[in-house]
Subunit: 358 residues, 2 copies
DNA sequence: CTGAAAGCGCTTACAG
DNA sequence: CTGAAAGCGCTTACAG
C-alpha cells in the first residue's frame, strides 16, 4: 500500500509529530532531522493524505467556485482567473455548477460546501437578501462577483454607467430608434446587471428626448440563439431600430447572424453594440463594452484568501473598470447621406459582396 | 459550533453507528429508528464532514479533470459535460489546470491527485508512454480524452478520417492549392490530433496528385490570434492557397479576420474550413468538422464511474463520431466561372458590401 | 436491527 | 528541538 506518516517516521527514526512538522516546513525542526525526514519521505514516495490533514487541522485548503452556467464564456474566464491565484496559493478549486433551477435550490438549502471548502466565490449568482443571509450562516467566507451586498466582499462593475456610455455612443452617432437585447423578463433569478443596464439605456434615451418604445426592448437570454431570436423580433417591428445595444457579446453575435440572414447590413443598415469584450468580439469587429473578466476571478480569489486571515474585517468592495471599444459594427445613422468629416467604418464582412453572375 | 454525528446520536437516542447507517440509507435500520435519526439531523442542521467520511471510508467521491487550458472552448465544454454526470452520480469535480510547462511538470512528478480523488480524466493531455505509466502507478483510475493508450479507457475521434473528409471537401470543390493551419511545430507537448489531421490532409492531397507545399502548412497554436497570424503567412506566400483547412474553429475564425483585413473575400477568394463546431461556428457561417465535445466529457465521466466498480476490466475505447458541416465559408474555386448546377454559397458577411460614396 | 470499539492518517497543544 | 497522546468526525467489521 501507499506509505503513511508513520512509515516515514519509522524510516527516519523520529516521531510522526516531527515528520508532520518537518514536511510542512514548520520551524523548530533541526536541519539534520528535517533532512532525514525529507529523505525518508522521498524514498517512500510519501504524500500526506489531504483528508486526514483536513480533518485534523480543520482547514480544507480548497475553495468552491459557484457558477450558473459553466460553458458560458464569462464564467469560464472567471473560473480560470480564480483558479490561477488559488493554485498559486496552494488551494484547490472546486466547481459548483448550479445552472438548473433544481441544482440551485439544492445548493441554497443543503449548503453542500459546508465543511468542504474554506471559502466560496459566487459568480453572478443572483440571490435575495434572505438567501445571502442563509449562505453566510454556513460560516464559510464568501466573495461575490457581480453582486454587491453588505455581508461579503464583492467585485462589481458600474453596469448603469457602462450602459449609459454604450447608449450615448449610439445616440451620438445620430441614432434615434435604439433597441436593446437583454434578459428574459420572467427569469425567476433576479440578476442585477440587466436591470442596471436597462436603466442606463432608458435614462440616456430620456435624456435626449428619444421615445422609449417597449417593443424595442426584447429578451435574449444571454445566449447566441437568444440574441438571434431577439434580433428577429426587432427586425419585424414597425419602424425598426437603426441601432441595437445587446447586453452581452454573445447576444450581439447572435443578432449579427439574424441581420445578415434578413439581408441587412451592419453597420450601414443597423449598428450593433455588445457587452463583455468576448474573445471573439475583436474577430468579428464588434463594438462593445469591455470588462476585465479574468481579473474579476483573480481579484475574487485574492479577496477570499485575504478574508481567510481577517474574517471580521469590513468587506472590501471593488468596482472594476469598463471601457467602450469602438470597432466596426457601429456607425452613424444613414452614413451615406452625411457629408461631414466622419466616414463610416464598415463592419468586417466574413465574405465579400455578392457579385453579379457573369 | 456545527453539529457532529454524536450530537445527532444523542438527540436521536441511538449510537453514532446507527446514525451513520440511517443517514446513508443503508439497509438494516428500523424505519422508526431511521425517522428519529432523520428528524434529529434536520433539527441540528447536520451534514457529515466529508473529510472524516473520506478518511474513514477510503473513498473521496470526487474526480479530477485535468485540462491544459481551461479558458479554451473545447476544454470548458468537456468539463461541463463531465461535471454534469459526476454531480448526478454524487461526485465532486476538481479542476487541475496544467497549462504552463511548470504546472504540467509538477502534476506529472508530484501526482497531486493521489489520495485526493477517486479518478481523473485527462483531457487532451499529451503524455508519453513513460508519463502515462507513472500516472497509472499512482493507483488512481484514469480515463483519457483525445489520447488512446493500452492502460486506460479513452474517448477519441478519428482525426485522420475527419481530416481526409475535410480536405476532400475542398478538393471536390476544385481547389488545388490548399493550405493548413495547425499546431506549433516545436511544441514540446506531443498532441496526437494535429499529427493525425496533418496526415489526412497530406494523404488526400497526394491521392489527388496535388502538390504538397510545406510553406502552406503553417502553425496557428489553436488560438484566435494564432489563426490570424497563420493566415497572414498564407496570404503572403507566392501562389497563395485558394482554400485553407484550419485544425480548429478558433484558428479558422482568426483566419477569417486576416482575410478580411487583407481585403479578400470568403468564400469567393478563399475557402475556410474549421474543426470542432464551436458554438460560434454556426453564427459566423463556418464550414467545419463537428465533434460532440460535451458528450466526450459525459462519456469520460461515465467510463470513470464504471471503472471504479470494475478496475480490472479491459479498458473500453470509444471512438466518437465526427461530421462535416457545410456552411458558407467554403465554395468552389472560381465560382463565377463555373456554370454547372452548383451555385456557390456565400459566407455570411457581418456587414454588407461597401457601397460607392454617393 | 443495534452498539461498542477500533481505526482511518493526520495535527496540535502539552510537556520536557 | 522532539515525543507521547489526545483528538478531528466519521465508517466498519464484529458481536449480539
Amino acid at each position: 500500500m501507499t506509505a503513511s506518516i508513520s512509515d516515514v517516521a519509522t524510516q527516519a527514526g523520529v516521531s510522526v509529530a516531527t515528520v508532520s512538522r518537518a514536511l510542512r516546513g514548520l520551524p523548530n525542526v533541526a536541519p539534520s532531522t528535517r533532512d532525514r525526514v525529507l529523505d525518508a519521505a522521498r524514498d517512500l514516495d510519501y504524500v500526506a493524505d489531504p483528508n486526514a490533514s483536513r480533518l485534523a487541522a480543520g482547514r480544507t485548503r480548497s475553495v468552491g467556485m459557484v457558477v450558473p452556467l459553466f460553458t458560458q464564456w464569462f464564467f469560464s474566464q472567471c473560473v480560470a482567473g480564480a483558479e490561477g491565484v488559488l493554485a498559486a496559493g496552494g488551494y484547490e478549486t472546486l466547481l459548483y455548477n448550479i445552472g438548473s433551477h433544481e441544482s440551485r435550490r439544492r445548493f441554497l438549502t443543503e449548503l453542500p460546501f459546508r465543511k468542504r471548502v474554506d471559502g466560496i466565490v459566487l459568480v453572478d449568482l443572483p440571490v435575495s437578501e434572505a438567501e445571502m443571509a442563509t449562505l453566510c450562516e454556513a460560516g464559510v467566507p464568501i466573495v461575490t462577483i457581480g453582486l454587491r451586498t453588505e455581508q461579503a466582499p464583492s467585485i462589481t462593475i458600474d453596469n448603469y454607467g457602462a450602459a449609459c456610455t454604450a447608449t450615448r455612443h449610439l445616440v451620438n452617432l445620430g441614432h434615434e430608434r435604439i433597441g436593446m437585447i437583454s434578459n428574459l423578463p420572467d427569469d425567476p433569478r433576479h440578476f442585477h446587471a440587466p436591470v442596471d443596464r436597462r436603466r442606463g439605456y432608458q435614462d440616456v434615451l430620456a435624456e435626449h428626448d428619444l421615445e422609449l418604445r417597449p417593443e424595442l426592448d426584447v429578451p435574449g437570454n444571454f445566449s447566441l440563439e437568444g440574441g438571434a431570436e431577439a434580433m428577429a423580433q426587432l427586425v419585424a417591428v414597425d419602424r425598426p431600430p437603426t441601432a441595437v445595444f445587446a447586453q452581452s457579446d454573445e447576444m450581439a453575435i447572435g443578432a449579427l447572424k439574424t441581420i445578415h440572414d434578413a439581408g441587412l447590413r451592419v453597420p450601414e443598415d443597423i449598428s450593433i453594440l455588445g457587452f463583455d469584450d468576448h474573445d471573439m468580439a475583436e474577430f468579428v469587429g464588434l463594438t462593445t463594452i469591455a470588462q476585465p473578466v479574468v481579473q474579476h476571478g483573480e481579484l475574487a480569489a485574492e479577496l477570499l484568501l485575504e478574508r481567510a486571515d481577517r474574517p471580521d474585517a469590513e468587506p472590501t468592495h471593488v468596482e472594476a473598470p469598463t471601457k467602450l471599444i469602438v470597432r466596426d459594427t457601429t456607425a452613424p445613422r444613414h452614413p451615406a447621406r452625411r457629408d461631414g468629416p466622419h466616414r463610416p467604418r464598415r463592419a468586417r464582412p466574413l465574405a465579400g459582396p455578392p457579385r453579379g453572375l457573369p
